[in-house]
């Protein structure tokens, strides 16, 4: 059952990712990217990372995509701007590099035996279930310093974003 859903979400993820980078219109590219984020959230659910699945939908498919669409519509690109922006230019070198990267990754996984049903099996233990409660304990005990640094980073990003978009720096 989990296997069927995995292949379903994997197909959705691949197709929507490919559509997201090939669309000419930035709005439809952003919406296809949102579909791929939802597919990733589905795979997180299959891996029992429930909290991350919710965060993925809320932050990525929600907040980040709204920000993207907001900026795309704020820029209000005219027709002649879009004329200049051509469709995907497929550099042979770029595609070869990407194919080489993927091939190397698959070869390494095969060498390490990660496709074996025994060696690569995913353990579903009680400690690995990512509910909010079980994720909060290490976050506020073991990883409390990175957590605080992350909050400072968000503050810096907010101030920086406001400063960069200001019309005049006086």
């Amino acid at each position: 059952m989990i296997g069927i859903f995995f292949w379903l979400f994997a197909a959705l993820l691949t197709v929507s990712g490919l559509l997201a980078i090939t669309r000419r219109n930035a709005v439809s590219a952003a919406l296809w990217a949102a579909v791929s984020f939802i597919a990733i959230a589905g795979i997180f659910v299959l891996l029992q990372a429930y909290f991350l699945a919710v965060v993925e939908v809320l932050v990525y498919a929600g907040a980040i995509m709204v920000l993207f669409l907001f900026v795309i519509m704020l820029l209000n690109l005219r027709e002649e701007d879009l004329q200049v922006l051509e469709g995907p230019r497929l550099h042979i070198l770029g595609v070869l590099l990407a194919a080489g990267f993927l091939g190397g990754l698959v070869w390494t996984c095969r060498r390490a035996g990660l496709y074996d049903a025994k060696n690569g099996a995913i353990k579903m233990t009680a400690e690995s279930v990512g509910e909010t409660k079980s994720l909060a304990a290490p976050l506020f005990m073991e990883y409390v310093l990175p957590f605080e640094i992350a909050s400072f980073l968000l503050l810096a990003a907010i101030v920086g974003a406001v400063l960069i978009t200001k019309k005049r720096l006086t």
């Binding site: 994997a10 993820l13 691949t14 990712g17 490919l18 997201a20 980078i21 669309r23 930035a26 590219a29 952003a30 795979i43 299959l46 891996l47 990372a49 991350l52 965060v55 993925e56 932050v59 990525y60 980040i64 993207f68 820029l75 701007d81 200049v84 922006l85 051509e86 995907p88 497929l90 770029g94 590099l97 990407a98 194919a99 990267f101 993927l102 990754l105 698959v106 996984c109 095969r110 990660l114 074996d116 690569g120 099996a121 995913i122 579903m124 233990t125 400690e127 690995s128 994720l135 290490p138 976050l139 990883y143 990175p146 992350a150 980073l153 990003a157 974003a161 960069i164 978009t165 019309k167």
Partner: protein, 99 residues
């Protein structure tokens, strides 16, 4: 579904993002492709965490999502600043240092 399948899927998504970054000229779609690559790495983290049977991978992804939110806010602010300055989002037309 083994961990190898998850890593391969993550690699496929990363490759899609990589091709997007290298072949698109609209800077908004380049940023979108960077988001796809970040998500691919998040998938690899959660996959390896589930394989090892602990939560550390998920905590790493939690921080990665926080950083991604900050990155998108600053990145899009820079796109707006660029558009104000040059009236374009075409990466080939932003080559002042090269020319």
């Amino acid at each position: 579904m083994t961990v190898g399948h998850l890593i391969t899927l993550s690699g496929v998504l990363f490759t899609i993002g990589m091709v997007g970054v290298m072949s698109r000229r609209n800077i908004l779609i380049v940023l979108l492709s960077v988001e796809l690559m970040l998500n691919a790495v998040a998938l690899a983290f959660v996959g390896f965490g589930a394989w090892r049977g602990n939560l550390d991978g998920q905590i790493m992804v939690f921080f990665a999502i926080t950083v991604a939110a900050a990155e998108v806010a600053v990145g899009l602010a820079m796109v707006i600043a660029l558009f104000r300055l040059r009236l374009t989002v075409d990466t080939d037309r932003v080559s002042l240092l090269k020319d």
